[in-house]
Symmetry: C3
Subunit: 273 residues, 3 copies
């Protein structure tokens, strides 16, 4: 199944509009090109509706947020909804400031998202309306490990069902759920966290996968998460003595560029719950 | 001739003011350093005139445009004109939104450009005052191939003559013309399109070449286009099994860093019409 | 001593808030992760005080400045002062425009900085209230070489004492002084100047070092400067035939990623005055 999904990305070359942060934007553009998509970045209220209309999918990434961008996100998100384009939300830093939390909740309230991808703190902030990034979590659910998996799956399913979105939470184990079916994904490498923006890149790539496979957003998002994790593993194998996180960053994007549907099918490691 | 042009860049170390987008800005800065120039990025209306006065050339790149930046582009462009500094326009996404098209036309109307570099859709938008990025082209001139070359040359020459600028259109075959003489350039590799920002990088590098060779903007722009394409070829030869577009990006900038005037002279593949 | 400082960064994983430019921001984030810190980028006045409160240190980098960012810098700087967080200033381009110079002086007036890191022109602009980036220096102190070292040390000590900050000036020889004790640092490689943002990266890394070693800001800043220079040397040794500044950029960040406290202790080359 993931095979066809990857092939659809390469075949359809989905054009993705990204309203995103200036920290990781270049890597997001390059990973979109690597996986077979095509990126456009535009964030001014004067043009985001038109740009989104030209594209087939939209990523809204909340890094380096400001109030003008929030306006643009709302305009583009609503237009994409109108056109039935998939919209992906990456609530970067939700919980880290009232501004980010409120903006995330406003977006959630006014735009329908096909997929929301974040870490556990960010997703909990959306679910509970409050939170703290890099704070100690009251219920110990900061990382998704075999010990916390059951609770995390229950939380993610409940939230997905409530807001009618696919929820993708990336951690030691990644979860992708639509509230009914949950993919628990074991791909990835811990050092991916020592590269800035692997989460942002995954969100952009998820947009390409979901846009190229519009009828199966759950599976498409799971395929993107497996693809990112699997490429993180392949890239890690390529690492030699003097390499560090800068080379690792390049190797991951390179691995996505070379990834075939067959490889992804074989390399994906997950269980369905 | 290209030999001397490359050497002039390295000898004069032209300081280039860039008002550019946040997607590819880092690569633009690094390729300017690689070719022998020196970059300054500044885009606030409060300082762009002073920054431009400090420099010897100016690149205006319309990616991730907003209205404040348009103000800055107009201020800096007019100041650069006043000081007789070369000004290069990269009309990124002209035709993709009314805002981009109108801003491009406004710039064209109020600033004199030494060189305008874009893809065929963008340049046609400037010429006809309307257009669509990644839309199907009515007259089939989306790519410049042997079949469409004659029509493309005629179009480019006509437009160059009309606005008194050198026009550089990059495609499968690249064209650089001042309306009288046209360089048809065969350097390059198709996978350069799978890296974000090779066009932006070329525009920045063109500014360095034209600034270091102010009396021959046509030839300087042609030299920059050949340099980018030739480095794309050299970098592609360096690609090995697990490499992808991230490594390719680095290899191209590396190739520019190591490029000598002699190599460029030998490697440039073009015909003059 | 540098050994423990490096180890403290890796052990404490200092969370650093960066208000910085969009040219080199990705490299700043990756070098922070490479050295053992953790980056957050946020620059909107609506959230910078909260973000800074969540962090343990703050970098203020004046590249691609605008008036909104100056507001954010003042807000975050004052909040960080209130919380006794180390604040590092990188006065990028001070002297290049009245706007940058005035903003730098305003910051200097309203925020207490643990460390100010810049090139000689930028630091002189702060000291004298006027200056020019890449202008010819009246007193020939553009580069710190064995010939100009005495005068540069005297200048840096005087300024450090006057403003009660550690001053770090990077040049051929780097100086780090608190007005009493001065580290003259001989690490580094001249080609580091042909990568955009090695200065910005050093400023970000300095924030991590000073934040993880809050009682010894002078030594921590000197350790960071040695680390950057030493990694520039190590990375240069890794350079082979077709490599250029793009690969060099990656190799430096890689070297920081692999740097141990022992290596830094052995590799640091400096004299204390």
């Amino acid at each position: 199944m993931f095979l066809e999904m990857m092939q659809n990305v390469r075949k359809k070359v989905p054009l993705i509009h990204n309203i995103t942060n200036y920290v990781t934007v270049n890597d997001c553009a390059n990973i979109l090109l690597a996986c077979g998509g095509s990126p456009i970045m535009a964030d001014d209220p004067a043009e985001v509706e038109e740009i989104t209309s030209l594209c087939q999918g939209l990523t809204i990434n909340m890094g380096t947020l400001n109030s003008t961008k929030v306006t643009s996100m709302l305009l583009a998100g609503k237009k994409a909804n109108e056109l039935a384009h998939p919209v992906i939300l990456d609530p970067v830093g939700a919980g880290a400031s009232a501004f980010r939390t409120e903006s995330a909740l406003k977006l959630l309230n006014e735009v329908r998202f096909s997929v929301i991808r974040g870490n556990i703190s960010e997703i909990k902030t959306l679910a509970f309306g409050t939170g703290s990034t890099k704070g100690v979590d009251a219920d110990g659910m900061d990382a998704i490990t075999p010990e916390t998996l059951d609770a995390a799956v229950a939380f993610a399913k409940h939230f997905a069902k409530k807001i009618h979105s696919v929820i993708a939470i990336t951690s030691t184990i990644d979860l992708v759920t639509d509230g009914e079916k949950t993919y628990c994904i074991y791909n990835g490498h811990p050092d991916m966290r020592r590269i800035t923006g692997t989460g942002c890149q995954l969100s952009a790539m998820t947009a390409a996968f979901v846009t190229a496979n519009p009828d199966t957003p759950l599976e498409a998002a799971a395929a993107a998460v497996c693809a990112m994790g699997f490429c993180g593993e392949k890239a890690w194998e390529r690492m030699t003595e003097p390499d560090g996180n800068a080379s690792y960053r390049n190797y991951i994007i390179d691995a996505v560029y070379n990834l075939t549907g067959e490889e992804l099918e074989r390399g994906a490691r997950y269980e369905v719950r």
